[in-house]
Symmetry: C2
Subunit: 320 residues, 2 copies
């Protein structure tokens, strides 16, 4: 059987078809024509799904369903995008239009939730029925798998792990609170932390960069070259990331936490300090089950495979 995954973004919709092993047999993308309203986007998505099916040489009956990863707050039960500022969508039902046009069942969840499910079904957390996926990128997002199922909270409004305060009275967060995990552990936060360090001490390789164009990778590169200031920034950043991970461990005690997003490209250099931190500070120490920490494995395909995984999970649930 085959499964369509559509990754709905603010500028583009990436789409693809996977097989039962999670292998992408075809992928493509179209523009998100959001200026012409939600209905236009939904019709485009339905057409895109049918186009992919045809292009892959499949019939609609070969496809079990369409999974959609949407930005913002998504209610998986009703398949509604409840609130997505970057699309300017509120309470948009993505199911009815796409189901009626394609004849295929449609499933919908938040894109970070989809990525977590994709990793659980086909990626680095495969077979770990209790796992958490944390993306460290522009913001901090995530998805939670408990007992082999996506945990979304009532109305899909849970799993906003980037929006848990870890530093009272910390930096202002876009969500309205101060000191959210996202304001400490995102790539954006790392860059801010590097700039703050640079302002205090110019005797650093960081001073060679245009301050408006420092990227997270630059900070890591300076640290790797032995720069003291950059290393202090990076070490402190790892600690911030670790604090949030231990919070998740103490509440969820998963078997594994996967790190995704741009920062995860750092691989073992990131994982080593995080593993040490989590092992050292998790509640009840060695008396409690240890938690694996690894990087996500689906990479650029996470959006498509993750979205399609919604349809795979639904199919498997029916079969069981």
């Amino acid at each position: 059987m085959y499964y369509i995954g559509l990754d709905l973004g603010g500028t583009a919709i990436k789409g693809g078809i996977i097989d039962d092993d999670g292998v992408i047999i075809i992928k493509d993308s179209i523009r998100t024509d959001k200026e012409n309203g939600a209905d236009k986007v939904l019709n485009d998505m339905a057409d895109f799904a049918l186009f992919l099916t045809k292009k892959a040489g499949l019939k609609v009956k070969d496809v079990a369903g369409i999974g959609i990863g949407s930005p913002g707050l998504v209610d998986g039960g009703s398949a509604k995008v409840v609130f997505a500022p970057n699309l300017k969508w509120k309470n948009v039902d993505v199911r009815t239009v796409i189901e009626s046009k394609t004849g295929l069942p449609v499933y919908n969840s938040n894109d970070a939730n989809c990525a977590a499910l994709g990793e659980y079904m086909f990626g680095a957390s495969k077979n770990y029925k209790n796992s958490i996926f944390v993306t460290l990128g522009t913001g901090v997002g995530g998805g939670i798998i408990t007992d082999g199922k996506l945990f979304e909270g009532v109305g899909g409004a849970g799993a906003e792990i980037g929006h848990t305060v870890i530093g009272i009275d910390g930096e202002q967060c876009a969500c309205g609170r101060r000191g959210c995990y996202e304001t400490y552990a995102s790539a954006t936060a790392l860059i801010r932390q590097a700039k703050e360090a640079l302002q205090k001490n110019h005797n650093t390789l960081l001073s060679e960069y245009n301050e408006d164009a420092i990227f997270a990778k630059d900070v890591f590169d300076c640290a790797d070259k032995g720069d003291k200031v950059a290393n202090e920034v990076v070490d402190k950043y790892y600690e911030y990331v670790g604090i949030g991970l231990v919070n998740l461990v103490n509440v969820f005690r998963p078997e594994i936490i996967l790190i995704g997003g741009g920062v995860s490209a750092r691989g073992e250099k990131l994982l080593k300090p995080l593993r040490e931190y989590v092992a050292k500070y998790s509640y009840a120490g060695s008396n409690a089950p240890s938690v694996k920490i690894d990087v996500a494995s689906l990479g650029n395909d996470a959006g498509i495979v993750g979205a399609a995984s919604l349809a795979v999970a639904a199919k498997r649930n029916q079969t069981e």
Copy 2:
């Protein structure tokens, strides 16, 4: 059918029997003879269960099972107390001895988890399949119900909501980290905050108390009498409690959060500011489902009813 609940504490074991409506038909308590080892305590618990059954005029076949609420880290699956510092227990199997001596199935979970389950089955969160119970007492504990089931994490090592850092570099916590929710939102924390305020400003009713004998209730009493310093302390304390509640909302998005523990005696005076705070700061504001905030209702019986609820839940699962 009837269900035995045993609430295992460091100094006493409270026990009782409830009916299908959660009504206690008998209760009593015995001393925790921990000095003579775990095996002695387990044998005492089995005898106590049989004693309660007899005293209630029941036969063992009228009882469906024994639920036990234990302190510390408990693995519900294996019914083991993995780590309980106040009993000096490590990996104690409570099931084998008590089952063999009573002939009844034995279930075990952390005492705060039991309280959460009890409230869900018979108390203030009845029928809310997604609920969180937060105790504000000497420490901050809690239990999480998702999809109508107790969420314990792998090996029962989750749901330690008091041990999530909300203030980086804050007060030292007994768990080894700094700035845990417990160090801001427990009754102990409130007392510390009051003492700190008193040290800065003696022009307060708080100065009339012996500093070593200020209780949380005293701080609230001073605030109720219009004392400015006490009111500032209490308002800030509510904010700390609120920060942790919003963190829980953003991750779990339950239908309801119940507050238990000593501080919950404050009732509406506590609930009003917490409800306002949670409504104002929860992720996506009014675009996401609102969360009820209330006080727990089982009070002093929470230990017995909660523990017995484990047996009720197991029985109902078998019947379904």
